[in-house]
């Protein structure tokens, strides 16, 4: 067995593989694995509580945001249609499970692939458009998909919604929050691993090249259009898987939540977490969802206080206000997001006592 490397002593990289490793030291690897184990065990402590529901929501959103980050943060194509893709995934899973009788573990990836196809179609204008024109094209895609979800009644049952059968894996029924917790977070780990590895391969490097300078990338022989489409496909695959998990978790879906607001929320999670950072995507999802839930808690508390009975307090304005403030403050003061904050904290620990 090779010797564990716990602390780096200088930068002695000799090969590109050393530059590309996920964990620079074994210390990071051990920390992460033990962290995941502790996290999984601690779920038993909060089983059957509202907190676990929130944690599950964070897991689902994280999967979607990792996908969006591949598109926005790594390839540099801004998409305002991610909420619609999430909805397509949810509907695909619901239709496959309720009408075609697919089992859970086939329906989820199948929904991902269907959404990837739709994503490639919506991303097709990227062959001719870039920058804000492409953003506006995806905005149109969002509205058109939203319309289809409501009005294509033979397929989506319109405003009635679809009720999903109780999912089960290998005979184990996923009826409780706790069981779903394990499914969601194992999916999240697999998807995170996939994303980290995509970014390290030639595909990821091509994405980054397109983001940084598309003309130079084309000059270096990267077929830009194919790679943009691939990026749209991967990103919507993530959205589709997240949407499918969400649909099974919610057990019944309507087209209502998949609005432009959802797309904007995902973009905000990407920005707040940190563009082009995969852990950042998870931080961003955690931040926004915790913010929403904290606000809900605060308003509930205020509503129940006797002194404030006369004052009408509603959630919606407070939520929009703090959401907007969070985006604006992050963009103005920490544009690289929570991932950067995390990096600063880590390195100041590492360099202690000489950190500055």
């Amino acid at each position: 067995m090779r010797k564990l490397k716990l602390r780096p002593c200088g930068n002695f990289k000799e090969r590109y593989e050393q530059e590309l490793t996920i964990f620079e030291t074994d210390f990071g690897r051990i920390c992460l694995i033990s962290g995941i184990i502790i996290f999984f065990c601690s779920a038993f402590l909060v089983a059957d509580s509202y907190l676990l529901y929130v944690i599950n929501m964070i897991g689902i959103a994280s999967i979607a945001v990792i996908g969006l980050n591949i598109l926005v943060g790594f390839t540099g194509q801004i998409s305002l249609g991610h909420g619609a893709f999430f909805g397509v995934g949810a509907y695909a899973a619901a239709i496959l499970a309720a009408d075609a009788g697919f089992p859970f573990w086939i329906a989820v990836p199948a929904a991902g692939f269907i959404t990837a196809l739709i994503g490639i179609v919506v991303g097709a204008p990227s062959g001719r458009l870039k920058g804000l024109y492409l953003t506006i094209a995806t905005l149109a895609g969002q509205f058109i998909i939203e319309y289809l979800l409501v009005h294509w009644e033979s397929l989506t049952r319109g405003t009635m919604g679809i009720i999903l059968p109780l999912p089960s894996i290998f005979g184990l029924e996923l009826g409780t929050d706790l069981r779903f917790f394990f499914v969601i977070y194992i999916c999240l780990i697999i998807m995170t691993l996939m994303a980290t590895n995509i970014v390290r391969t030639r595909y990821g490097r091509a994405f980054i090249a397109i983001r940084d300078n598309d003309r130079a990338a084309e000059g270096m022989g990267i077929p830009i259009f194919q790679y943009k489409l691939l990026s749209f496909g991967i990103s919507s695959f993530y959205a589709g898987v997240a949407g499918a998990l969400w649909a099974f978790y919610m057990t019944s879906i309507t087209a209502e939540p998949f609005t432009l607001w959802m797309s904007v929320e995902y973009l905000a999670m990407v920005i707040i977490g940190g563009l082009g950072s995969i852990p950042g995507a998870i931080f961003g999802a955690t931040f926004i969802i915790s913010l929403n839930e904290t606000l809900r808690l605060v308003t509930d508390l205020l509503m129940n206080m006797e002194a404030l009975k006369g004052v009408e307090l509603t959630l919606a304005p407070l939520r929009e206000l703090s959401f907007g403030l969070a985006i604006v403050l992050f963009i103005l003061f920490e544009p690289r997001g929570l991932a950067e904050v995390w990096r600063i904290i880590r390195s100041s620990f590492r360099l202690w006592p000489f950190s500055y």
Binding site: I78, A140, I144
Partner: protein, 292 residues
């Protein structure tokens, strides 16, 4: 035939409003190439100030109209100074998300202050403004909207053509660096164009409010409908904004009238996709798309 004519009139009036809303949007894009997602909220802001002044403080109409416009002007100035100036030269995504964040802040604030209800202005337009031609009836609000729109369009046309500030703004829009080297204060022009755009937005918000009543959610969704309009007209053409507005307005009312009311709200976006694929710089826009 009667139905057709009435739809035509409605379409033109609505289209005119879209055009006016798009005008402010184009102005911002032209001078600072910022895609403003908070446009609908700026419109709602103007409409609500006007509402407060007219029906709560009960100032005379003309005075409160002017005060509301001044308020919007100042707001536009402040937005540019506080939020947009630090972002000059930053990547597109930050600018877009900043305006999205601003939109959320404004919407939240307005919901806090005025709530999500539908308000209507007191009826102050004289009935004599209404136009009747045979069976076609144009209610006074539409007539007033068209009059206000035409007055402002002429005023802005004159402003851009003859006043020195207007000429500076056009020069900045045309070529920032050249304008800078000729001694134009580009920062001041940015601030001024945001202020004027906010003023135009506020004005169109007031007019829309007179016609449909004011509601935060409705007005901010109109702010999104500006996108098809400006893409159709060309992102940097003020005249194109008006014509794009008219086309989108007519298209919407005719789809709503003849095909299906539910399709009405999506048709502009379907058109948008086709325009982007066929003629991305719009009818009157500057050709600057590169195919990479």
């Amino acid at each position: 035939m009667e139905f057709f004519a009435q739809l035509l009139v409605n379409g033109i009036s609505i289209g005119f409003l879209y055009g006016m809303a798009a005008m402010g949007f184009v102005m911002i894009f032209k001078s600072s190439s910022v895609l403003n997602f908070a446009h609908g909220e700026l419109m709602a802001f103007g409409a609500f100030i006007f509402l407060t002044l007219v029906s709560w403080i009960k100032l005379p109409i003309i005075l409160s109209f002017i005060i509301a416009l001044i308020g919007c002007f100042i707001l536009g100035f402040v937005i540019e100074r506080l939020f947009l100036r630090p972002l000059i030269g930053e990547p597109l995504i930050y600018v877009i998300m900043l305006t999205v964040g601003l939109a959320a802040i404004f919407k939240g604030l307005m919901l806090f202050i005025w709530g999500g209800n539908l308000y209507v202005y007191p009826d102050f337009l004289p009935e004599s403004l209404s136009i009747s031609m045979g069976n076609i009836h144009i209610p006074p609000v539409y007539a007033a909207a068209i009059v206000i729109g035409l007055v402002f369009l002429t005023l802005f046309g004159l402003f851009f053509k003859y006043s020195s500030q207007g000429i500076y703004m056009r020069s900045v829009a045309d070529n920032q660096q050249a304008a800078l080297s000729l001694g134009v204060n580009v920062r001041k022009i940015f601030a001024l164009s945001w202020a004027i755009a906010a003023l135009v937005a506020g004005m169109s918000g007031i007019v829309l409010g007179i016609i449909n009543g004011i509601n935060v959610h409705d007005l901010s969704s109109v702010g999104l409908k500006v996108f098809p309009v400006v893409i159709l007209g060309g992102l940097d053409s003020i005249g194109g904004a008006i014509i794009g507005g008219l086309i989108i307005g007519l298209l919407e009312t005719f789809t709503g009238g003849y095909i299906s009311p539910s399709l009405r709200d999506v048709v502009p976006y379907i058109v948008l996709v086709f325009i982007l694929l066929i003629k991305p710089y719009g009818l009157f826009g500057l050709v600057e798309i590169e195919r990479v």
